[in-house]
Structures are given as C-alpha cells and as structure tokens.
C-alpha cells in the first residue's frame, strides 16, 4: 500500500491536465458511441441478402464440382451445401451464406487433397 501511495505521489497529475483528460475522455466516449452506432448500422446494412447467398452458394458448388471431377468429393461438403440451401429456404440468409462459405472451404480442401495425392500416394506404396 505504501509503495502504491509513493508511486501515486510520484506520478501525480496536475489539476489542469486532469480537466483536459476528463474532457478528452468525454470526447472519446462520444466517438466510441458514434462508432458503435455506425458499426451497428453497418451490420444491419451488411445482413446477408438472397443475392449474396446465391453467389456464395454458386462458388461453393463450383468448387465441389471441381472436386467431383477429381473424384474426391467429401460428404461434409455435400452436407454443408444441403444445410445452406435449407437455411436459405427458411429465409436465414446470414446462416445460409456462412454455410455456403464453409462448404466452399471444405471443397477447396478436397481439391487440395486430390492434387497433392496425384503424386503423394506413391510414398505409401510397398516395395
């Protein structure tokens, strides 16, 4: 406690500066509140639309088709695509977009796997 008091006295702030700091804090709070308001409004504006879902779904489906051409589709991609469609059907486009993006990520991982395995399989072969 004594140490704390010492440090307080050592680093005590002049009264004028304290007032200025308080004022600045008020301004910062105002700025923060405004920022929050803007962010809130932006998130309302950024809520997924049907068009956004369709674009995200199409990208995911294209990636899954590419995996299909490489004969390496994943069941989890198909499940995410089906769930995305279902969410969109229920009008939950935020969820539908999130699931479409998840499906695309899974499909891209399966494409990566298929491309890597074109040569990598040889490393496991018994000789």
């Amino acid at each position: 406690m004594s140490m704390l008091r010492i440090s307080e006295s050592r680093f005590s702030v002049p009264i004028g500066l304290k007032r200025e700091m308080r004022q600045q804090m008020r301004i910062s709070s105002l700025a923060l509140a405004s920022l929050l308001l803007i962010a809130g409004a932006a998130s309302v504006l950024a809520a997924g639309s049907e068009a956004d879902f369709k674009a995200a779904y199409a990208a995911a489906e294209a990636a899954d088709n590419e995996a299909g051409q490489l004969r390496d589709q994943w069941t989890t991609t198909a499940a995410a695509l089906a769930a995305a469609k279902q969410a969109a059907g229920a009008g939950d486009f935020d969820q539908a977009i999130a699931l479409s993006k998840q499906a695309e990520a899974l499909a891209r991982a399966s494409i990566f796997q298929a491309q890597r395995e074109k040569e990598a399989w040889k490393n496991s072969e018994i000789h």
Partner: protein
C-alpha cells in the same frame, strides 16, 4: 584441406544430380514384383499367421475373435444367402437360359478367375458386372450391385470355388497394365475429410482396433467376399465394401462398378493370387 573441399564439392554435385527419391518403383509397373512385396510385407508383419490364413481377415490376427468366428461358422449367417443364390443361379430366365450359359464351366468353380480383363473392351470385368451383363443379355433387369440378390448369387459362386487359389491374369496389354496401375493408385490415395486411403487401415494398421472393430489385412481381403456383416445385418458385395469404406472416411463414394472400383478390385485380387477363396464370409 584442399582435397577435403574437393570431396565436399563433388559430393554436393552428386547430391544435386541424384533424384529426390529412389527412382520410384511406383513409376514402373511390375505386378509380379508388387505381389511378392505385398505378400512379404504381411508375412513379415505377422510372422505367426500362415499365408493362406490371411483370407480370414481379422480372425487371422485376433485369437478371441477367431474362437467366436469358429462358433459362428457352425451355423453361418450367410447360409440363407447361399441357398437363395443357388436357387437363383439355377432358375431359368424368361427366355429359358440361365446364368450358367454366360460363364465358362457353367459358372461353377470360376470365382477365383474374377475380375478378368476383357481385351476386346479394354476394361476390367468383375464377377458382379458379368452377372448383370448376363441378365441384361437375356432380357432381365440388372440387380443392385450392393446386396441382396447380387450378394446371394456371388455367395453361391464363391462357395463353388472355396479353396481354389485366386488366379487373376493380367494380359500383356497396356490397357490392362494401366487398369492395374489405376487400381493401385486408388488403393494408396488418401481421400475423404478424414484423409484416409484404403492402405491407411488395411496395410498400415491391420490387426489394430478402430473403435470396436479389428482391421482386416488387405492381403486376402477379397477372397472372403461376399460377406455377411453383423454391422450391416445382412450380406454385402465387393461393391458394398468399397462404397462403405469411402463413406467411412467422409468421402463421397463412386458409383458401384465405376472404373476406379473395377480397377481396384483387379489390383487387390491380383495381389492375393495364390491365396484360397474363402467366401462367402462372416464378419462382425
């Protein structure tokens, strides 16, 4: 000192010229050498298991399971399928012909020769495919490849070949070699979200448990087909086995009798040449 530097320089130059890995026997196709290496791998890994016993899958690697299986074989669960298969096999089609008319030796004792490579078509012909082609040639609708009637028919045909060693022939035809190689590639390729290849379980971990199951060795794995699986509560064909394996790794399975599956069956059966047919089998 100078000679040491020279030596190091020469060594580095040689290293730079050397291929990344020992020239890949994987790039040259030698089925006979593959089969020898494959069989040696398993007999080396399991020195107490006789070569012909690998056809008994997990029972060859686990004494408790083996005892249970021997009890099960007193009243084998595939018996109903066997009887149904015999009846189907001998019952004439609407045109009066039977399956026997489609196969050499009237279809009896020939299972060990399948898959074959059809040099006219340039593709692998599995027994399941040959059975459906026989049906279609005689005006009948094809059967589902995965279970029931197809499993019953192949069970009967396997039974008539019990004890006969697999005798898969790869003709001197680049397409046959390519099919064999494609089967090998499929076998070792990791797929599905779980990133497993067929070899991950059946080469690298036979005898180990995956959850409650003991993994079967790849050597001899098709000799026991078709099988009654308690997990399926019924019979399943080779097609069913491949499809299920792919699904279990979270991979979307191919269609039954797609080229990859046919080639995979060709490759795996060839590696088990010399091991006796033991099908139909019973598995947990």
């Amino acid at each position: 000192m100078q000679s040491a530097i020279h030596f190091a320089a020469v060594a580095l130059a040689l290293l730079a010229l050397a291929p990344a890995r020992p020239a890949a026997a994987a790039d040259t196709v030698d089925p006979l050498a593959d089969a020898r290496a494959f069989q040696n791998y398993f007999t080396g890994k399991f020195p107490n298991v006789k070569l012909e016993d690998f056809v008994n899958g997990p029972y060859s690697m686990n004494a408790d399971m083996r005892r249970q299986w021997q009890e099960i074989e007193q009243f084998p669960p595939y018996e109903f399928a066997l009887e149904a298969g015999k009846e189907m096999f001998t019952k004439p089609f609407k045109n009066g012909k039977t399956y026997a008319d489609c196969f050499p030796n009237q279809g009896i004792g020939i299972r060990q020769n399948y898959p074959t490579f059809d040099e006219q078509e340039g593709k692998v012909i599995t027994l399941e495919l040959a059975l459906n082609r026989c049906r279609e040639a005689n005006g009948e609708t094809p059967l589902s490849y995965v279970k029931d009637d197809m499993a019953a028919l192949t069970a009967y045909m396997a039974y008539t070949s019990r004890g006969k060693p697999f005798d898969i022939k790869i003709p001197d035809d680049p397409r046959a070699i390519a099919a064999y190689q494609n089967g090998k590639r499929y076998f070792y390729t990791r797929r599905g979200q779980l990133n497993f290849s067929c070899a991950s379980c059946h080469v690298q971990a036979p005898g180990e448990r995956i959850r409650a199951e003991v993994l079967a060795p790849a050597l001899g794995i098709l000799n026991a087909m078709p099988i009654y699986r308690s997990e399926w509560s019924g019979m399943g064909t080779v097609s069913r086995r491949f499809i299920t394996c792919n699904s279990q790794t979270r991979g979307v399975p191919l269609n039954a009798q797609d080229d990859e599956y046919r080639d995979l069956e060709f490759y795996l059966s060839y590696l088990s040449n010399g091991l006796p047919i033991s099908g139909p089998g019973a598995r947990p």
